[in-house]
Amino acid sequence: MISFLIYKTILVIVIFAVSLVVAMYSTYGERKIAAFMQDRIGPNRAGPFGILQPLADGVKMFMKEEIIPDVSNKALFILGPSIAMLTACMTGVVIPWGDAITIGGEKYSLQITDINIGVLYMFGVLSIGVYGVMIGGWASNNKFSLLGAIRASSQMISYEVAMGLSIIALVMMTGTISLKEITEQQAGGNWNMWNVVYQPLGFLIFLICAFAETNRTPFDLPECETELVGGYHTEYSSMKLGFYLFAEYINMFISSAVIATLYFGGYNFPFMHDLGLSENLITILGVVALFAKIFFFIFLYMWVRWTVPRFRYDQLMNLGWKILIPLSIGNIMLTGLITLLRQKYYF
């Protein structure tokens, strides 16, 4: 029992630390990638190649003056970024970061908890994430913040629908909503290919919705600088602002992990059982493979951000309600039809 607690505690702390560090260095990566895509160098003063830049940014954030507006609702004002940060860190619990490692005959799974409703849990936490933005924007008692918050919440709620529907098609195919089982079904050979092969449309819809859910360009209307100053975090300063910005990067990391898990085989990599490697080595390589996939998707997020301009608000809503939702419903029907035909004709 004690050893179980210790193992889980260590796992929780490691995953928490890893997601924070990855998010921290995503900010560095974001700036570097932006710079390279614009033929610049990017941050290169703090440490070699500017590798200490995130630390400098963090120190700066902590040192800044903390302003809580007099007219704001103080409790909610503080609650907003806290919820944003909390929900961002919570989703990592159900993601299978790797298979099990065997130490001294005991199997230690690299997933904190394999609840059988992993996908549902993920969506639940995601929906709470909207509250962080909404409460923060509303509590600021500022027109721009409120507008940003309204935009953010309506955007996130509308895209959650399409996202959920695109997942339903996947769930129909896999027959489970446990992330671990979904991952294991994608393990090598015998037509168990990555889900993206069977669900290309669903993947595309999910990807677009993930961009919208994390408030990344081209869907970054909630913090649209040109129109709304800073959107929902206009009134925020110091580390509270830092929490909002940081939560976005953690969300990016987690959603990349979710995309990799659901559609790109998670910790599986091609020929993993054909190379004659030991179980532990396969697990470790699997973790490396998963992180390679995650980093690719984080890069994709940034790549798109520095390529595509922002949508107009009506375009955003049109895309969400009139295109993505019908498409994902069509995808569900198509998946259902094929599943039915498969059962009938055994192919």
């Binding site: 990638i33 895509m37 033929d39 610049r40 160098i41 790549w303 390529t307 595509v308």
Partner: protein, 189 residues
């Protein structure tokens, strides 16, 4: 009238299905950004690397000395008159006995000040000078916290002795000397 061939006629036609998908356009854009990703940055890391400036760059002024080290300036005031920004002021004084090694002519500038905030670095003072005394150099005027710091007196402007001389040969070319011989053109443009 068409001045260049870069203009594009705006068409308000309905987008085709392929265009409405946006994906071809987005992927094209991503291709462009990826191409730039591997390009060499154009940034010059300033304090370590300095971009080359032209030999005839017009920067901070210097008041030249002659071969023996005496100041060339005779406080005639032509530079101050020529200056379109009215940045130059001076006070003349008479050379005393025993100061021949300090000042070349009988009259010299006791005070010579250039306000670097007013100066537009046009080089007309240099062109006006009949004594080859003032030159613009390739040094950049450094920034300062105080406005007073930008009023450069003789302590900054007059060039040093021996190895501290300021090299102005790049601006004092053959053509420039030829042009300066006939000051008629310079002063009666």
């Amino acid at each position: 009238m068409q001045l260049t061939n870069r203009s594009k006629v705006v068409s308000k036609k309905e987008m085709t299905f392929a265009e409405k998908l946006y994906f071809p356009a987005i992927l094209g854009g991503m291709g462009i950004t990826l191409k730039h990703f591997f390009k060499k940055p154009v940034t010059v890391s300033y304090p370590e690397v300095k971009r080359d400036i032209a030999g005839v760059f017009r920067g901070q002024h210097t008041l030249k000395r002659d071969e023996k080290g005496a100041e060339r300036c005779t406080a005639c005031g032509l530079c101050a008159v020529a200056c379109p920004a009215e940045a130059i002021t001076m006070t003349a004084a008479e050379r005393k006995k025993g100061e021949e090694n300090l000042y070349r002519e009988e009259k010299y500038a006791a005070v010579y000040e250039i306000n670097m905030l007013r100066c537009i670095f046009c080089g007309l003072c240099e062109e006006a000078c009949p004594k080859e005394a003032i030159f613009l150099t390739d040094r950049i005027v450094p920034s300062n916290f105080e406005r007073d710091g930008f009023i450069y007196g003789k302590d900054i402007l007059v060039e040093g002795m021996n190895e501290n001389r300021v090299d102005v040969t790049k601006r004092q070319t053959e053509e420039v000397n030829e042009f300066k011989k006939d000051k008629y053109y310079a002063h009666n443009k």
